[in-house]
Symmetry: C2
Subunit: 327 residues, 2 copies
């Protein structure tokens, strides 16, 4: 999959590697893994991201530094590679700079439906992660170049984007890649997993404690809701970002087909995260609530108040369940 | 590792496969995986366990039935194989029946320090799981015999005994085994992971909600405690078994080196689960509290009351931390 990439990259000298806004493990992991590959192959490399690297991933920037986006520095690059996103608007200022910059934009990504706005793209929808793709880059060029730091970066991205190798995107090839990554990197899985996943705070658990108390089940336990309010955030001194992953709790109750996390925060209306682990299509569901997304994960919005939101979201969910049962 | 096993088993005809008390995923997975292997290789097979198969693993008994231990049936077997335990007392009545039964007892297991009480043993301490060993049995005999049902059973045991492939026992070979298991079994990881892990109840989360509210941090956040009381179980209509895995919550707080779950239930004293994710040896710690176990996981007991237990457990933990810092 990297044949054209490997052939064409030879004519460039200084390369900027940019990862997407609100970076996650796969984004930072692939950025660090690619930057190390580029450096090992004789390129000058700058890695950019405008947002802060999440605390649990900061250790990865010791393997390769990530700078804030800087148009003067970008101008010195003769190629920009965007990782883990398939539309320019996912890369902060990059979209608005494209006209000013006379430089090709390449992309490496695994999300579906890529935009047609890149000069070269390695787009593999359905791959577990962009990090799995970067592993393939090493494998198709010189796998001996895959050493500890890049291996740990790629492993981070693969496990964070697959719920610790549990998602349906994980194939035998993914696991063979991870086996090779562990062997070449010579590290134990727990060394990375603990750094990446064991970074909760006492406050987050106090918030989770309050949120778990709000779980409600509907339609013979097929739909579960959980909510977080502004008062809960204030009481536990937490913010919206501390609710990350909360929706997985109601979703993991036996029999639940879909779950909704409602966030009634200090803003207009109620935001929702919808998740499915069945043939319930939460994308269809969310579209009736001013939102959308994918079949298994979507976001939505309701003007509120909270009680009315729950009533409406359950009424739409019920309709969805009935449709599935009759098809 | 199965050379002698494969050679010697040929002289037997009817084989009983027994798994240990309070069965878990690796225990049932290896029992089902081995029973299918035996049947495919022409043996008559009975699988036994005296305890109920946990609800999230019941689907595995559709692949191979598991009966209650029955001495009359056991007497008809000319070989008994014990899986996922390395001492006879881990197998319910088996220990007391050994004198009465004139039949060899074999063992397949991955725990450390096996007892010397078996006629043949395949003991590989440090292997991720007994299921990984059973995979090797297929691999060393005829891997073509590994089909969907056994593959799903073995996958279940490997992921449940490794925290979803995250523990330090997971090696490149483990991941290559899992890759082969997924390929031959022709299933997606989420199909099993959801059945095995997404089986929480609303009551368990109500209990977790109360327990999370009790988290306390000590010694600059290096030690975390969480507790469950009899009143909490009554309020949420749960039992002791619903606290399974709770200790991982305090353990996953940033900076925590060791965590203690205290259970002040309707019995004498306070039971404790101690877990380490550092060089803190909770086995040493637990030995000062009428208990023991391994470096990273141990159990202990204190006469109570709860407040005094916490005070004592923290005082011992503090001593442990100091010892580590000075060595």
């Amino acid at each position: 999959m990297f044949k054209e990439f490997i052939k064409k990259i030879k004519k460039y000298k200084r390369i900027g590697v940019v990862s997407h806004i609100r970076p996650d493990g796969d984004c930072i992991g692939s950025q660090v893994g690619l930057s190390i590959w580029l450096e090992k192959n004789g390129f000058e490399v700058d890695a950019f991201n405008d947002d802060d690297v999440p605390v649990n991933l900061e250790w990865l920037t010791e393997y390769f530094p990530i700078q804030s986006l800087d148009i003067e520095k970008i101008k010195k690059c003769d190629l920009i590679i965007l990782v883990d996103g398939n539309a320019l608007h996912r890369f902060s200022h990059i979209e608005s700079w494209t006209k000013e910059l006379d430089v090709p934009f390449w992309m490496i990504d695994h999300h579906p439906d890529p935009n047609d706005e890149f000069d070269l793209q390695v787009s593999v929808p359905g791959a577990s992660s962009t990090c799995e793709l970067i592993y393939n880059l090493y494998n198709e060029s010189n796998i001996e170049q895959l050493e500890k730091s890049a291996a740990m970066a790629l492993y981070t991205g693969i496990i964070t984007d697959t719920g610790s190798l549990q998602f349906d995107s994980v194939t035998p090839k993914t696991l063979e890649a991870v086996a090779d990554i562990l062997r070449r990197g010579d590290f134990k899985p727990n060394v990375v997993a603990e750094q990446v996943f064991s970074t909760k705070t006492e406050s987050q658990y106090k918030l989770l404690s309050l949120a778990l108390g709000t779980i409600q089940l509907y339609e013979s336990n097929q739909i579960a809701t959980m909510y977080v309010t502004q008062e809960m955030l204030e009481e536990t001194q937490t913010t919206n970002s501390d609710t990350e992953g909360f929706v997985n709790y109601p979703l993991s109750i036996a029999g639940v087909k879909a779950a909704v996390l409602l966030k009634d925060l200090a803003e207009e209306g109620v935001k929702m995260s919808l998740r499915s682990r069945s043939n319930v299509d939460v994308n269809v569901w969310a579209r009736e609530l001013d939102g959308g997304g994918h079949q298994k994960a979507a976001g939505a919005w309701h003007p509120g108040p909270l009680e009315k939101t729950i009533e409406d979201v359950i009424s739409i969910g019920k309709k969805q369940l009935n449709q599935i049962e009759t098809t």
